[in-house]
Symmetry: C2
Subunit: 127 residues, 2 copies
DNA sequence: CTATCTGCAAACGTTTTGCATAACA
DNA sequence: TGTTATGCAAAACGTTTGCAGATAG
């Protein structure tokens, strides 16, 4: 593993609650004086994900990366302010497995993102 | 509603099991002699979705549209052959609502797609 | 007649790729 | 040394937009 990839991984692991886009990773590293191009960031992210060190989710047309050190979870996104909460419901996971199994599929992964309005954003909303 | 939009809607309603990308809609209509540009297709799809006539899901970086006439359901996609199965588990829906509520969110929507290998594609796979 | 829709082509934002150079092991 | 990673810039990809002309109601 090269210095660049180590830097990308270290950055992502530094803020466990954050969901980084590739562009944000590049900017954050440059702000610390690392000279890195977007292509390298994308390649590093792909490699780290293949190694299972980071995980990715996609929403609003952009892929976001986070450390894979944390336990598996899904996401709840506020469509107004962009706030992201994580949640994990074993019953949902189990039912997904069952749904796949019932149709003869071997389940390999899933994407589950809930969209809504967070408590703060509901306020000014007439709700 | 114009002839073009009617044609887009009719096409999508014609094959209830199919999940159309914008490009596929354009091609299918052109194959039937309808002269239509992609921009018009995208605009028609957006309008039809806003009216609640069609629904969309996104996976593999592409948005796909289907008739909204069917009941709500989620998707199970074979990552090898692209086959799509639909499923609906009321328990999952309920747990999603609960997860959002527990965090103060008002749930407005969700994206749930399961990825795996269908029965046929598991065969040649050493499984 | 006015509002809306259309085609085209250009622009957009994100991601990938080609290639020559640089760093790794 | 040979293999792999990097920077840059260009291309690819799906999607959106500006605009002048066409169509709907």
């Amino acid at each position: 593993m090269t210095a660049h990839r180590r830097a990308v991984l270290a950055l992502i692991e530094e803020e466990p609650g954050r969901h980084w886009s590739a562009e944000e990773v590049a900017e954050a590293l440059r702000a610390r004086g690392v000279r890195i191009g977007v292509a390298t960031v994308y390649r590093a992210l792909a490699a780290l994900e293949a190694e299972g060190r980071i995980a990715s989710v996609q929403w609003h047309g952009r892929r976001r990366y986070e450390s894979a050190a944390k336990a598996h979870h899904d996401h709840l996104v506020c469509i107004r302010c962009g706030r992201v909460e994580e949640f994990c419901d074993p019953a949902i996971e189990e039912k997904q497995e069952a749904a796949a199994y019932a149709r003869g599929f071997r389940l390999l992964g899933h994407q589950l993102v809930l969209f809504g309005l967070c408590a703060d954003c509901q306020e000014g909303d007439g709700v």
